[in-house]
Symmetry: C2
Subunit: 387 residues, 2 copies
Amino acid sequence: MRDVVIIGIGETEFGELWDRSLREIGIEAGLKAIQDAGVRGEDVEKMYIGNMSAGKLIDQEHVAPLIADYAGLSHIPSTRIESGGASGGMALSEAYKTVASGMNDIVVVGGAEKMTDVAEEEAKKILSSTADQEWETVFGATFDSLYAMMARYHMDEYGTTREQLAEVAVKNHSNASKNPSAQFPRETSKDFVMGAPPVSDPLGMFDCAPLSDGGAALVLCPAERADEFEGEPIEIVSMGEGGDTMAVHEREDIGTLKATKRAAKMAYERAGITSQDIDFAEVHDNFTITEIMAIEDLGFFEKGEGGPATEEGKTRLNDEISVNTSGGLKAKGRPVGAVGISQAIEAVQQLREDAGDRQVEDPEYGLTHNMGGTGSSAVVHIFRRWS
Amino acid sequence: MRDVVIIGIGETEFGELWDRSLREIGIEAGLKAIQDAGVRGEDVEKMYIGNMSAGKLIDQEHVAPLIADYAGLSHIPSTRIESGGASGGMALSEAYKTVASGMNDIVVVGGAEKMTDVAEEEAKKILSSTADQEWETVFGATFDSLYAMMARYHMDEYGTTREQLAEVAVKNHSNASKNPSAQFPRETSKDFVMGAPPVSDPLGMFDCAPLSDGGAALVLCPAERADEFEGEPIEIVSMGEGGDTMAVHEREDIGTLKATKRAAKMAYERAGITSQDIDFAEVHDNFTITEIMAIEDLGFFEKGEGGPATEEGKTRLNDEISVNTSGGLKAKGRPVGAVGISQAIEAVQQLREDAGDRQVEDPEYGLTHNMGGTGSSAVVHIFRRWS
């Protein structure tokens, strides 16, 4: 297997992009990534597109060749990867493998989602269709309420508090305030988060990531060819993937993200490092409780210590481990299929030391954690500067 | 890159499977494949699932971890690949790459679709959503009518006749009559095909593949480990993929499947053979016209000669090249996401010389051709017996 580097990054703004269609969003991100890399369109051999649900959100399946076509690259094979919220991260894994295997050299991997062309309630229903329809949502469980159950369990089992959940949102909004790409680049306060309208007890509106339109893209190539292009190369050191039951009620312990644990173990082993070597991490904070579980299950803190660690500021920028320096899904935004790619962009910006006011000091290893459904799929990537 | 073999195959019946849900279909096919291979569930490291549109057809996204979970393998990472009608073939490509790269050893790749839980007109609309919604189907073009335009063009440009189209259906039904797995294992006649109710002129009902429920699965491993398992190994010699414009009207020549030509070229070059070395082929006959274009664009016949070759019987079993010995999408059935996998199963059965009355004599190389949308994505695989 060859070493693989990211040589280009590009993304659209995240938000309510009513003036742009999915294909335009995809192309904008892709062209920025190609320009950043200094690659020409004709160099690109293969594309992957992470997308959760264009079929339901914009009535269009088969979006991968669509985006390649409208980028002027209709001859290129382009494959859509779908794994709910982990679609972007899983797409990155396939792109990584095709370059590592020697099958392809220059590969573009993008993610895009257009979520605001349907009513908010409809978009939330579609998110819920990544949980188990036959055993969960058909009985009235929503995506929010399934995560609320995990939060309640975590509070009962480990003493996690409502305040600690709120601190996740406060931190991530603080980081987003330093990120010009963020959908919500504004600080907030614990009182404001706790006073927000309830969504599904104990989670309120500020415990939930928003619905966003947006796209993100990367250009990958084998490390041995990185010198040919302009973008400063960042290595994808390793990749790990894991699974878990679709339905939350089938899990022995609903306060643990088993797929995340499995993906992290695989990624650390392949990289030959441990969780303690990671300097910053973008984790899948679709809800505040998810970040708390993730920082435990990724091995940064002992089980049950995620809440206290957050409250004590250990996950703030340049504290023990910098978590969601971009603002995370919560405040950078959540165009679902683009999330895993957007996380990798933050990793590249940090490792290039190009992250401005939110720069992590002297980072060596960065990690991204992307999750689908209520955690039934998860993917972890580890990055470092190529040298 | 390592050599990769298929060591297990399994599929459900294809048809209106109203007693089974998508997850049950997926598991049935997967378990049969695992049993055929003599692999234990705990040996499986990774799954891929080809599926076109479970989101719209059964209101369930994120089907790959769902199927892994209900197979008792919830810990395994499982990725859904979607490329319209080429979803199964594209899933096989990703599975092939992960084994070839050395990333995984034992991989299950399946395809499944549940198409009959919605009304027929709704299912056809969903098929149309793999064409270009913004520029084609929103103006009333249907999947059928887009292919009918290609047929009309091919007739005008090359003199292809209505009778020649009908002969595709007659041949494929004849092959299906020798295939116990076929949805329609019955002979038909040219007069019957030509007298069938019109769908979109010049295509009638018997020029169109049916709507089917069904699943199919393969077990892959590196060739160096094939001896450890029971299933007779068949090598995946090479893989090729190609793209084309989403919208038919953007093509210079709508009688040529450019993505198919590109995919075939890549597959032949990687295998170090030409189209003349192929003994049998499963091609994407979603409509009769598609088979005629495919056998030209795969290089078996000169452009414009596909119709006459079919009429002269050159594509019949054990004639010049045996095309769609399984009965094809037309008569074996079309559970969309499973099609590319089902084609590979036919290749394995033929190369194992296990195809009963439809056995190709002494086959060396087999080819499968799977296509998405109106041909904007295509994937070709080449197989031979492992030795």
